[in-house]
């Protein structure tokens, strides 16, 4: 392999690929970055086996030549040194050449490095995109879907399947669900796709999604999503993102979502959010219990820590249907949920003192958040 490439493009791509490399890998070859040179692209891949990032540098960008091909080929370079070297090289052209016995020469105007490379044959094979299984949607939409659901994943390793976001596609509807068993968030969106394309029980690790959310840009440009047996692929213009999926069966969350409510109120999202934020100021020991009581035109939010004091808040209700109610819940769950409801007004459905409280965006009823209440005995 031999090429001459503009340092700036190389630096940026190496830094992207390096994000997926872990210093504590148990598979030796994954300590390196895979470099592959084809006729038209220079491709860099980093991976920690859970997630992999593949960055493609095209030979030409906006009619500018980015690199010159000398000899096709591929090599794995130790990520730790490769990234450092590329960072420190002066601006201008960089030559990368693999000589016999995997010795790699990296040259710029005044300096030359020699690095011991590793055999590219040792690198894991990543899945490729099959054109007929591609789901296309705007970048910002997918980014938002992740933001609005993935915060609710569980962090407890004892139920690993809940540490991921469940993803399903049926009849052109894409559904994402996350729950840690105390709260649940779900959003369904219509996507333009081949009606026959469908999948279910695809569970993407929350950790991978956090990384993907950083990579995705808040823009209209389409991205491609492909699900294989083991992995999910997300393709943006230059970056191909892979994540292994979680093994196991995701619980059936359909039956958990209440179909009927005893009362419904509509109120200003921001006012409610701020009221709960204030009410949780007195929370102690990470237990942010707050009580919500409905009245005629308002709801009362209160919190009581015997050692600290108590707090009472009032929020105006725009609309109310059904009976009055009283419920206690963890303020953190409510705050997390309200922060991803972007609409001006939020609808709260009360479904019973031991059943979930349902929060919906008024703009998009398909965005819903469930919060399991805190059980309170009055008579003990």
């Amino acid at each position: 392999m031999q090429l001459v490439i503009d340092r700036e493009y190389l630096r940026e791509a190496v830094a992207q690929a390096d994000k997926a490399v872990s210093s504590r890998t148990t598979i030796p070859i994954l300590s390196g970055i895979l470099c592959t040179l084809t006729e038209n692209e220079f491709i860099l891949t980093g991976s920690d086996s859970d997630l992999s990032i593949r960055v493609t540098i095209p030979r030409e960008i906006d009619d500018n030549k980015v690199f010159k091909v000398g000899k096709l080929g591929s090599i794995v370079l130790p990520a730790k040194y490769f990234t450092e070297i590329v960072k420190k090289l002066p601006e201008g052209q960089v030559e990368i050449e693999v000589k016999d016995q995997s010795i790699v020469h990296i040259r710029s105007s005044h300096s030359e490095f020699q690095l011991n490379g590793l055999d590219a044959q040792e690198y894991p094979r990543l899945p490729y995109i099959e054109e007929n299984k591609v789901l296309t949607l705007p970048s910002h939409l997918f980014k938002n879907l992740i933001r609005q659901t993935s915060f609710a994943v569980s962090t407890q390793e004892s139920k690993p399947i809940l540490t991921g976001v469940h993803c399903a596609l049926k009849h052109g509807e894409l559904k994402l669900v996350a729950t840690d068993s105390h709260r649940l968030s779900q959003r369904i969106v219509k996507v333009e796709t081949d009606e026959s394309l469908s999948f279910e029980n695809v569970v993407i690790p929350g950790k991978s999604l956090a990384e993907l959310q950083r990579i995705l840009i808040d823009e209209d440009k389409p991205i491609e999503v492909v699900i294989t047996n083991n992995q999910i692929l997300v393709k943006t213009e230059r970056i191909l993102f892979f994540s292994r999926l979680l093994d196991g069966t995701y619980p059936d969350t359909e039956r958990i979502i209440p179909q009927k409510s005893q009362a419904e109120i509509t109120l200003n999202t921001k006012s409610l959010l701020q009221a709960i934020e204030r009410a949780s100021v007195l929370a102690k020991d990470g237990k942010h219990n707050v009580q919500l009581t409905s009245a005629e035109q308002t709801i009362h939010i209160s919190s009581n820590s015997p050692e600290v004091g108590r707090v009472a808040e009032e929020v105006h209700v725009n609309n109310m249907v059904g009976d009055g109610f009283k419920i206690a819940f963890n303020a953190k769950y409510a705050l997390d949920a309200l922060r991803v409801i972007d609409s001006e007004e939020v609808k709260i459905e009360f479904t019973g003192s031991m059943s979930p409280l349902v929060l919906r965006s008024l703009d998009d009823q398909q965005l819903l958040q469930l919060i399991l209440p805190i059980r309170i005995y009055e008579n003990v």
Partner: protein, 410 residues
């Protein structure tokens, strides 16, 4: 601010004294309270002063005690009765002050700082307390008096127990004369290991420790070193707190098996019974717990085995099967396969049961209803009214245990 006055009231040979008070014919005979000699627990739990004169000691084997004092009357323990008397004594102390801390079944702290105007000076109050306890329960109480709990405790252990009046006051004026010459291992909190460490440092008496540079002790043992130094200097700021009894940290149950259990299936039965028992008691006290621990001791004394391990639960519970599931997992993981002599299950990280976070995938309502039904039956028909079928196997201990408190007969 007035000086605090704290008492430690210690009941002499408590179990034996209660037996003597309840059975006047025993009054002038040596009495030994001992566990069931047929089971392993045949050790001396308490011996009255008469029996002790013959050399009988607490915690020695019953047969050894009988060799020393063949004429001793052996009495089976009645734990419920002792608890009742202990509460009776707490009530007596409460007449003198509302600050009473139950330290153990036969030791209670009381803060009488504010009681002096009503009842007289400390020695007066102590005498009144002593007399009242004797009159109403027949138990002889020794009382240590100090400006804080630690000095009251040491006043009682080292002086009140040994003098004629059974009352002794230790404070910063007589501490140097009385306390400091004592060997360092007489001090509260110093065991044989600590004693060795101290001796190597040239600390032989409590006085030596009191004068030792604090910085060195702190460097060597951290906060523990500081506490020991403060104890030696009679410094203790901890309040006599009524709460120590109420605010329980853990609810546990432990039992020595009638024989060594060797198979997983048999031990499982006991774990299940212990879990149900712990759950029942948590509910009675209105607690839920977040952590389950299991302790096991092996049967071979020469090759001591066993473990004590804990597991954090997904959420709080006081449901027997939840506790059992965790206990079983712990046991299965840590058991080395050797015969087991004793097992214990504990529920800790307690929180009040009147509020807890519900879960989507756990049918807590159903568990609550089941618990309520079980507790109603237990309340009406006793702890063996409903048992698990496994308890009917040979390994089951439920029936035997229902006769006992703390492993001893009621």
């Amino acid at each position: 601010m007035t000086h605090r006055v704290v008492f430690l009231a210690d009941m002499q040979s408590f179990y034996a004294s209660v037996e003597k008070a309840d059975h006047p014919p025993l009054q002038n005979k040596p009495v030994i309270v001992s566990g069931d000699p047929k089971r392993r627990s045949g050790v001396v739990l308490a011996a009255c002063p008469l029996a002790k004169k013959w050399g009988v000691q607490n915690a020695e084997r019953l047969w050894e005690a009988q060799q020393k004092c063949p004429q001793a009357v052996i009495v089976r323990p009645r734990m419920q009765r002792y608890l009742d008397v202990s509460i009776q004594i707490t009530n007596i102390l409460n007449r003198f002050t509302d600050l009473v801390e139950v330290y153990s079944v036969d030791e209670q702290f009381m803060d009488v700082t504010a009681s002096q105007r009503l009842f007289g000076d400390p020695a007066d109050i102590a005498r009144q307390v002593q007399e009242t306890i004797m009159r109403e329960t027949g138990v002889y109480a020794r009382i240590g008096i100090g400006p804080n709990k630690i000095l009251a405790k040491m006043a009682c252990d080292h002086f009140a127990k040994k003098n004629k009046t059974g009352i002794f006051q230790l404070d910063h004026t007589n501490m140097q004369r009385n306390l400091w010459p004592l060997p360092v291992d007489k001090m509260f909190g110093v065991g044989s290991r600590m004693k060795r460490h101290f001796q190597r440092m040239g600390i032989r008496t409590i006085g030596h420790l009191a004068h030792f540079p604090l910085s060195v002790l702190k460097k060597k043992w951290g906060i523990n070193g500081q506490v020991l130094w403060q104890t030696a200097n009679g410094i203790d700021h901890s309040p006599v707190s009524v709460k120590t009894h109420d605010q329980q940290k853990a609810i546990g149950h432990h039992m020595t098996l009638p024989r060594d259990y060797e198979t997983y299936e048999e031990i499982r039965v006991v774990l299940l019974e212990l879990s149900e028992e712990v759950a029942r008691r948590s509910r009675r006290k209105h607690y839920m717990g977040n952590t389950v621990s299991v302790g096991v001791r092996g049967a071979d004394f020469e090759w001591p085995t066993g473990f004590y391990r804990q597991l954090k639960l997904l959420g709080p519970t006081n449901f027997g099967l939840d506790i059992f599931k965790a206990a079983e997992q712990l046991f299965r993981t840590h058991w080395d396969g050797l015969p087991v002599r004793s097992v214990g299950v504990t529920l800790s990280q307690l929180q009040p049961a009147n509020s807890y976070q519900l879960s989507l995938f756990d049918n807590q309502l159903k568990k609550e209803n089941l618990n309520r039904a079980l507790d109603a039956i237990y309340a009406k028909f006793g702890p063996t009214a409903v048992i698990r079928a496994a308890s009917l196997t040979e390994a089951g201990q439920v029936f035997d245990r229902s006769q006992k408190i703390g492993g001893h007969y009621k």
